[in-house]
């Protein structure tokens, strides 16, 4: 057993760090340094910088424009990017529809879509959930009627995060209304500029308009935009859930937030002494730090397994569960340390120290972490059944 990186891997890590240090524009760096919030424009600016370096999609194979990094280097790159406080790239193209198009799309589709995902020229959003369906993704009611050379879409998608900025949406649509639940669903790509598409952003408790409702009224989608077999979309949906799970350990983000917590504890005083000197506060921070280290080890184990080519095992099933609870816990810790400053809400700079500014919105918004990508309750149902073999 070996927990350390090889000298070559360590050299790669240094290279990444150094590159980030120099490549990040001062305006972005200023935000990153105080753990500020990045708008979509800033995120896409960073996307393009990473693209030019060839690192925008560490997990993409070289064939499709990925950097051809091995598992460990992908991990190192991802962790360093998260730790740097750089904008987190939008996952909808790079991590969701991109890999599905690689796996299930035809060559024309791969040539048409993948390069523009990589370059950032086209932004994507996800059309999975529907109103009142929750984590029950198979409850698809949006219909795609066969109209010869195209489908006609009617229905509604919900939780279409950042649809207001998206050029394209990938979605599950019911192409066979007579079939049973999971059957009769197809996976389609739809241009957001199509006539009949309407987006209504939803204000979240994080104070931003992250989610949208997206409405489809007689929207025409050419048949070449069908990915995978007709009525066979459920296979793609399941594959995507698998991809999603590996995204959510968020070790780097949690580590970054822990640093923020320590910074708050240092800069906040009580009775003239920093909170960081208070044994109760220290124990609280240390408890979260231990939890994060445990998550890191679970992540390393999953990573090492993947490196050896093993199928994802028991250790990876807990990443979403623990990762989501830990990132929530980290922000909760920050909020608690802020004391009365926790009241602040999107005020002008200077009302509270800059690194306290986005704690509240992030804490609030991240209540979603245990809900999206299959709620933690659903994750537990799956583990109970598939791993523990408990009866249903």
């Amino acid at each position: 057993m070996d927990l350390s990186f090889s000298p070559e891997e360590l050299a790669f890590r240094d290279e990444v760090r150094e590159w980030i240090r120099t490549a990040m524009p001062p305006r972005l760096r200023a935000i990153a340094e105080v753990d500020g919030h990045f708008g979509v424009d800033e995120t896409m600016e960073w996307h393009r910088i990473l693209h030019r370096k060839g690192w925008v999609a560490p997990h993409w194979p070289r064939k499709f424009g990925g950097p051809g990094l091995d598992v460990t280097r992908r991990f190192i790159l991802t962790e360093e990017l998260e730790l740097s406080g750089a904008p987190q790239l939008l996952p909808f193209g790079l991590s969701m529809v991109g890999p599905l198009i690689m796996q299930f799309g035809d060559e024309a589709q791969q040539a048409r879509y993948l390069p523009k995902i990589l370059s950032g020229e086209e932004k994507w959003c996800q059309g999975y959930s529907e109103p009142n369906a929750g984590s029950d993704l198979a409850a698809v009611r949006l219909t795609a009627e066969d109209a010869g050379d195209h489908f006609v879409l009617n229905g509604q998608k919900t939780w279409t995060t950042y649809a207001q900025y998206a050029d394209w949406i990938f979605l599950l649509a019911r192409t066979d209304t007579g079939a049973k639940k999971q059957a009769g669903i197809s996976f389609l790509l739809c241009d957001m500029k199509s006539e009949g598409v309407r987006v209504r952003p939803t204000l979240t408790i994080g104070g931003t308009h992250a989610f949208c409702d997206t409405f489809f009224e007689d929207v025409r989608v050419p048949k070449e935009n069908l990915v995978g077999p007709l009525h066979g979309g459920w296979t793609l949906a399941k594959a995507l859930l698998g991809h999603e799970r590996t995204l959510v350990a968020a070790v780097g983000s949690s580590a970054r937030t822990l640093l923020r917590a320590k910074r708050i504890a240092q800069s906040t005083t009580r009775g003239g002494r920093p909170l960081a000197d208070d044994p109760v506060v220290r124990a609280k921070i240390a408890r979260m730090e231990c939890r994060l280290e445990a998550l890191k080890m679970a992540n390393y184990r999953a990573l090492a397994g993947a490196k050896q080519g093993h199928a994802p095992g028991a250790e990876s099933s807990i990443l979403k569960l623990c990762g989501s609870e830990i990132i929530q816990g980290m922000y909760e810790l920050c909020l608690d340390l802020m004391g009365a400053d926790a009241l602040t809400w999107m005020n002008e700079p200077g009302v509270v120290p800059a690194w306290e500014d986005w704690v509240g919105p992030n804490y609030n918004y991240l209540r979603a972490a245990t809900i999206y990508a299959g709620s933690n309750e659903i994750q537990k149902n799956i583990i109970a059944k598939l791993i523990l073999g408990l009866p249903s």
Partner: protein, 379 residues
Amino acid sequence: MNFDLTDDQRLLVDTVTSFVKKESPVERFRKLRDDEEGVGWSRDVMRKFGELGWLAVPFSEDDGGLGGSMVDVALILEQLGAALAPEPFLASIVLGGLAIAHAGDAAQRARWLPDVIAGDKTLAFAHLEEGSRYDAHHVSTRAERTGTGFRLTGRKRWVLNGHAADAIVVVARTSGDVGAREGISLFVVDRGAPGVQITTVRTMDGHRAAMIALDGVEVGAESLLGTEGAALPIVERVLDGATAAACAEGLGLMTQSLQRTRDYLVDREQFGVKIGTFQALQHRAVDMFVETELTRGTTILAALRADDPDPLQRMRGVSVAKVQLARGGRYVVQQAIQLHGGIGITDEADVGLYFKRMHVLESLFGDEDWHLSRVSSPG
């Protein structure tokens, strides 16, 4: 031992409940919150509170009040919390108003309380400072004697209703070092006094508050409330009363969060069945219920003890309640969102509003650690 409401109290609860039901649904709060021009609450509604007598409750009859107890105040605040009514009852009555009532002389009380009780004027209470955390004796704002009164210099943070109040009760130091328990005094400062700089800030719950800078503000001797340098016991009493009131408001938030979650579980279907049939969710809802019932008990404790003449009894009862609110309240609002799923993350669902208000109440008047250290103090 008796926890039954008196007939008067029952009537009070009924009046508040039916008023907010009719005139203050949660939607009213959303509108006030989103109105960038306004102060976040309605002066008309505050006056109605006055007409209904609620603002008079905790004041003595001599001061034009009803001579009610902190229990009566708690009953009102629980219902206002349930409706998310944003009017500054806590800031103007429980903080600023009672500070004047407890510390002021007859002339000072007569100068301010009638208008406050009518809802025509509102008050704020400025105590928090940078680095004070929650210690009432950590005061660096200075009040120096002048020929005719005092000159106040310092900065106050997160002053509830400070952006809208007609006058601000300021905790300032007339002698001693920053952390000394002696030398603390109270002053009533007009919002328009030269040198008073009020910056409106937004708070997580959609309310406004103020950061207040006092740059050599000259006030007359009549602004000093009570004995110079001896105000700390009153400040602590006022803050304990406000803490008990915050617990009551928090209880209202919890009750609503539980109720709405329960209704959601009963209504909502997924995978073809009511989600309320899932045992894991049922047990979660029961845990929410348990915390709410425990908080109901400790809120009574805090309200009863807030009027206790023995400061140790008072602090202990209030701190026990705030600790329970910190634990139970947070659990309930977090789970309310979790059990609502995605819709709980949106501003459309009321549970998110309760969630945010709960976190504000938690961050005010001492967090869990602060109150735990009070409970564990000897004596």
